[in-house]
Symmetry: C2
Amino acid sequence: MTDQRIYNFNAGPAALPLSVLEEIRSSFLNFKNSGMSITEISHRSSYFDGVINDAVKRAKRLLKLSDRYHVLFIQGGASLQFAMVPMNLLSKGETADYINTGTWSTKAINEAQNMGKSVHVVASSEDKNFSYIPREISFNKESKFVHLTSNNTIKGTQFSDFPDTGGIPIVADMSSDIFSRPLDMEKFGMIYAGAQKNLGPSGTCMVIIRKDLLDSVNNDLPAMLKYSTYSSKNSMYNTPPCFGIYTISLVLKWIEEQMGGIDKVEEHNITKADLIYDHIDASSFYKATAEKDSRSLMNITFRLPNEDLEKTFVEQASKRGLGGLKGHRSVGGCRASIYNAATMESIYALIEFMESFEKENK
Amino acid sequence: MTDQRIYNFNAGPAALPLSVLEEIRSSFLNFKNSGMSITEISHRSSYFDGVINDAVKRAKRLLKLSDRYHVLFIQGGASLQFAMVPMNLLSKGETADYINTGTWSTKAINEAQNMGKSVHVVASSEDKNFSYIPREISFNKESKFVHLTSNNTIKGTQFSDFPDTGGIPIVADMSSDIFSRPLDMEKFGMIYAGAQKNLGPSGTCMVIIRKDLLDSVNNDLPAMLKYSTYSSKNSMYNTPPCFGIYTISLVLKWIEEQMGGIDKVEEHNITKADLIYDHIDASSFYKATAEKDSRSLMNITFRLPNEDLEKTFVEQASKRGLGGLKGHRSVGGCRASIYNAATMESIYALIEFMESFEKENK
C-alpha cells in the first residue's frame, strides 16, 4: 500500500492503476502545459483531439481492430446500451437472440422486449441460479445478432470462449472484462463496456461497432441515441465526457507500455485468479459459488460457512485495508473483484488474510 | 496566474475555481481517508452517498428549491435532454411551446419534432440572426410547458428575466447560466444544465424537475431515458458519473462558502460583464454583437474591424496567457466566456490586453 491506499476489491467503480492516478494528479492543474486542467480544456481543441485519438488508436491496437470497426465513447453506461442496441440494430421484422446469464443480461432482454422488439432467449442459466455459462446453444439463423454478457460481476461467471453462432455477429456487454484478454474480433459485431471496471471512471461507455451494422440504423432516432451520430463526429457531436476519455487513454497506455500488451494482461489475470481459486478449492472453509468451468477471472464469488462469518470476514478485511469484499447486495456472500489493475501484492494480501481468518474462525 | 495557469475564457468545458481543482488534486489518491481515489469508490458506499447528497442539498439550498423538486444527475449532456424532455413530458395529444433563440433551442425543437411531438415555436429571433431575446410572446393556453434556452453561448444573448407564461411551467436549458443568479423557481417546471460551463467537468447534466411533471411519464420508456428512474433511485439506478457529481458538489460548496451565495455570485457576474461591455461600448474598435437589452453576462461576443484582426487578436491573446477567445466556429468573431469561476483578475487582464491591442492596431 502506498500513501495509505487500501487493497481495493470493489466491483465497480474499481481500482485503477496507481501510475495512472498519479499522472492525472500531477497534471491536474496544468494539462500538457496548456495552463488548464483536463477538466477545463475545450473538446474542440488540439489538446483534446490528441487525447481522444490516442484512446481510439490504443483501443484499436490492443484489440487488433480492423478499419471495419468504430471505437466510440457514449454516456449512460451499459444500461443505456441495453436500450440503444435494439433501438439501433433491430428494425421492424428483425429478430435477435439473447443469452441470459444473470442480472445484466436480463435487463438487456427486458429493455429490448419493452420496446416491442422481437427477441429470443436462446439459452439461460437461470435454472441453476446463474451459476454457469450455457454451452451448446442453437441459434436462430435469421437472427440479426446474438447478445450476451461476457462476464457476470454478480455471480462470478464468465464466457471463457465465445459460442459459434454460425456467423451471426455477437453483441457483447463486456463492461467487466474488456481489455482483460485478447479477442477474436471476427465473432463480434459490437462490444460495449461501461468504463468503471477495467477502463476508467464511471460515466463513459466504450462502444466498438462494426461499420456495416450502422447501415440499417433508423435515421429518425434522437441524435444522442443513434450510433451514427457518434461515428460521424468522432464521439464529439456534443461535449463528450472528457475526463473519462482522458483516463481511459491513460489506462490503455498503461496496458500497452507498462503491462506489455493484452496477452500479458491475460496471463497476469489468469495467474491472479488461479491463486485465489486454488486457495478456495484447497479449503473446506471457503466455497466458490460459480461452476468450475464457468468461473470468472475478474470477479471471484465465494461463501463462508455462514452469513455471520461472512459479515465478520468483510469487516475484519476492511480494517486490515482490504476493501470491497462484500458480495453484491442482491446475492450476499463475498466477492473479490480483481480487474486488470488489481496488483499481485493485493492478491497475496487477500490470500494471507483468508488464511489467517480461516485459522481463527474454523 | 498560478502554477503557469492561463486566463481561461473557454465557452465549455470552461474554467473551474482553482480551489476546487486543488481540492480534487490533493485528495485524488485518497478520498476522505478511504484509501481510494474518488474514481475508485463504489457508488453504493457511504462515501459516495455523502457526495451525492451533499451536491443535492447544496443545489436545493442555493436555488431555494422546495420539496416539490427533484435534483437529478443524468448523463448525455443537454443534447440528450432535448430528446428526453418531449419523450417524458409530452404525451399523445399534448403540445408544448418553444422559444427559438439560436442553435441550442433549434436543436431542442428539432428533436421534439423528429419524435413526432406537437410543438409550437411561439417566438424566434432568427429574423435578426439570433442577436436578441424575443419579448411579448403569446403562449398557447393548452401548452404543457414552455421550453427556452436561458443563455445562448454562441450569440451571447441571455434572458435577463423570464416571460410571464400565465402559469405554464417553463422548461429551461440553463447549461450556460445555472447558478449564475437567483431564480424565481415558481416559474419553472424543469431546469437542465450540462455541467461543463458553470458546474463541473463534462459528462454530467443536472436536471431539476417538479415532481408533478413526472406523474404522466410513459412507463414504457427505456429505464435510462425516464426521469422517474433517476428520481426513484437518487440518480443511482446504474453507476452515475461519480467524478462529475463530486466536482459539482465542490463547485456548489465554493459558491456557498467562498463566494458567499448566489446573490453575491450574481453581483460578481454583473460587475465582471459590465467592465467588459463598458470597455467595448467606449471603443469604436470593438463591437458587441448582441442587442444591448439581450446581452449575456456569461458569454461576451464581439467583433473587431475585420477577420484578420480577429485572428491576430486571438493569437496574441493566447500568447499572453488569455485562452479561448475565439468565437464559436459557426459564427466567427471573438467571445469571452466569463462564467462563475472567471476571476476579476482575468477580467482585468482581458481588458488590459484589449486596450493595448486596440492601440497597436487601430
